[in-house]
């Protein structure tokens, strides 16, 4: 029996609209075709009508989960053009926000993965754990999702109470090490769904240019925080976890280890947090000169690249180009699902932690 199964654009396993057309032989997937663009909002074009203050708030809306990554990227790109260096305290706060965001994104992903293999208890547990991080983010920034922390030249809000974050990290680490990771790695039914599923070989990963945890699970040790440090990452001491089996379990393990690494980075950043200003320059007098700036940031899902061109004598950019991690990771799904069971495809497509609002922009 040969089926052509449309998965999406509205499907319970996908949080966002996109379409995966599966050609199946019984319950085995032969090939897949991807359609995106259901979420296109024209943000790149809209950005050309916004000044350097507004564009930060606009870019925050590219993605709901990694909103901080996008504000950080646009601010860094504009800072490149205007040749502004934020004060050290601002750089540290940026690291802290980026790592908090990575934590909540990875824990959320673990929950979604649990849901996709029908493990609702794991889903609920992960979301309960994530709530601690969300509370901290809300206390720091005033909002759970769009933090509005970054501005050109620094950050908007200070971190007044590092002890609260440290307490949360302790709790989180305990939950991860004592509950989430052991359950995932000892539950027979969960393991049978992850091991050897959706394999992406190192060779294929290299040629597709995949980024982030997807690449690191396929044996490519790439991490921008290490290779091209931004903000204050140069002063942080951390490992880049790499797995070589390239299956869903490897991606799970990489993310689990990254959660622990993020906790360690947060501890270092909070203990070394330098005193001083949190931003430079007066926004009302700042002017962005003509020029071209790039910024690359390691988002929870992988590398984000911003290419910003600022025109002459104007307060709006003439071109903003955004490439998000899902955009480069998603074509890999086609190779991962070939030969997989139909029941595994939701998990496989989710294992790259796809984000379509980013991809469509």
């Amino acid at each position: 029996m040969s089926y052509r199964i449309p998965m999406g654009p509205y499907h319970p396993a996908l949080e966002e609209p996109y379409k995966l057309e599966l050609v199946c032989d019984g319950e085995t997937v032969q090939d897949a075709k991807l359609n995106i663009g259901f979420n296109f909002r024209g943000i790149e074009q809209l950005a050309e009508t916004r000044n350097f203050i507004q564009i930060v708030a606009l870019m925050e809306r590219v993605c709901g989960i990694c909103s901080n990554t996008h504000t950080l990227s646009i601010c860094q790109a504009v800072e490149q053009i205007a040749e502004i260096t934020p004060p050290p305290r601002a750089l540290y706060i940026r690291v802290i926000m980026a790592e908090l965001e990575r934590l909540h994104s990875h824990v959320l992903w673990a929950g979604v993965a649990g849901k996709l293999i029908g493990f609702k208890t794991m889903f609920m547990t992960c979301f309960a754990v994530r709530e601690q991080i969300m509370n901290v983010l809300q206390t720091i920034s005033g909002n759970r999702v769009n933090y509005a922390m970054n501005r050109v030249g620094g950050v908007n809000r200070d971190i007044d109470d590092p002890a609260m974050i440290l307490a949360m990290i302790g709790e989180l680490e305990k939950d991860m090490v004592k509950t989430v990771i052991p359950v995932f790695t000892t539950s027979h039914s969960a393991l049978s769904r992850c091991t050897g599923v959706g394999v992406l070989s190192e060779e294929k990963a290299r040629s597709l240019g995949v980024v982030g945890p997807t690449a690191r699970a396929s044996g490519l040790p790439q991490d921008l925080r290490r290779a091209a440090p931004y903000a204050a990452y140069e002063e942080m001491d951390f490992n880049v976890p790499v797995e070589h089996s390239g299956d869903v379990k490897a991606r799970l393990v990489v993310r689990a280890l990254e959660i622990l690494e993020s906790c360690s980075i947060l501890r270092q950043a909070l203990s070394k947090l330098p005193a001083g200003e949190i931003f430079t320059g007066d926004e009302s007098e700042m002017e962005i000169p003509e020029g071209r700036g790039f910024s690359r940031v390691e988002a929870p899902r992988g590398e984000v690249i911003y290419s910003v061109t600022w025109g002459e004598d104007t307060d709006t950019p003439s071109r903003v180009h955004v490439r998000t991690p899902t955009y480069i990771n998603m074509p890999a799904v086609r190779w991962m699902v070939r030969g997989a069971r139909l029941a595994d495809t939701p998990l496989i497509q989710a294992s790259i932690d796809p984000c379509y609002s980013c991809t469509d922009r």
Partner: protein
Amino acid sequence: MNATTALLRMLVFPGILFAAPAAWFFLWIERKAMAALQQRIGPPFMQPFFDFVKLMGKQVPPREGLGGFLMKLWPVLAVAASAGAVGLLPVIPRSGGFPGDLVLLLSLLELPSMFIIAAGFSSRSLWGELGSSREAILSVSYNVVFLMAIIGIAASQHTFSLQALAQSQGSPLRWLGVLAILICLPAKLHMNPFSVTNAEQEIYAGPMTEYTGHELALWELAHGMEWVAATGLVATLIAPPLANPWMAGALFVVLSVAVVLVLTIVAAATARLTIDDSVRFFWRCALAFAVLGVSSVLLMRIKL
């Protein structure tokens, strides 16, 4: 058992009039227990009933021809079959029964899953077809274990009457059979880890995808009654014989709820297996229980 008492049992107790509220109650217990295991509040007590009423009030899209007729027919038949299964349960001792009612109970328990398969195919939806073929494969596999367990129990007590089984004492073979039935129940009730038929993340609602309104409400009711009948069967098999009918009835309910809780804990603690893993599991189970069952029967024969 004459015609009047049979009719009363079917329609009043423990038949439809009792079975429908019991079904909602059991659905609520399952949902509430699941919520408690996941740090949630869970639904209010009347929620399954409200769900039913709400679904009853919804419009059903007109479906023409034989397919439409069949789609209306299957949920009604499913409710009838599971209500009949509940009606056969010997809740109160010496309330009647007939030789061989265990066989009827088994077939009535089996019918809803047949109707689900038929419903999935007659809905002509891709997801329905996928779900139905999964259900068909799964029911073939678990029924081997299920029937072997029941036949083993019946053979060990030399009777196919539920009443007699409820009155007799337990034996090792019987406990083995109860264990086998408990392993099959998640698959029968579409619970984790064998919830492949209605795996919403993969194939939406499976056979139920095209259903809505009162037809879906009837499916939900049938599902609840399956809960009552299946857990009731286990309760009948493990309950010690009691003379006082009130005590016996209370014990029956307590044991049924306990079975629901056990199944809920299993469902909360597991992820969903894929269809081929589920089938492999049941065939391994079948092999293990077959070896155990045959050897214990042989041992008993030798002892006798």
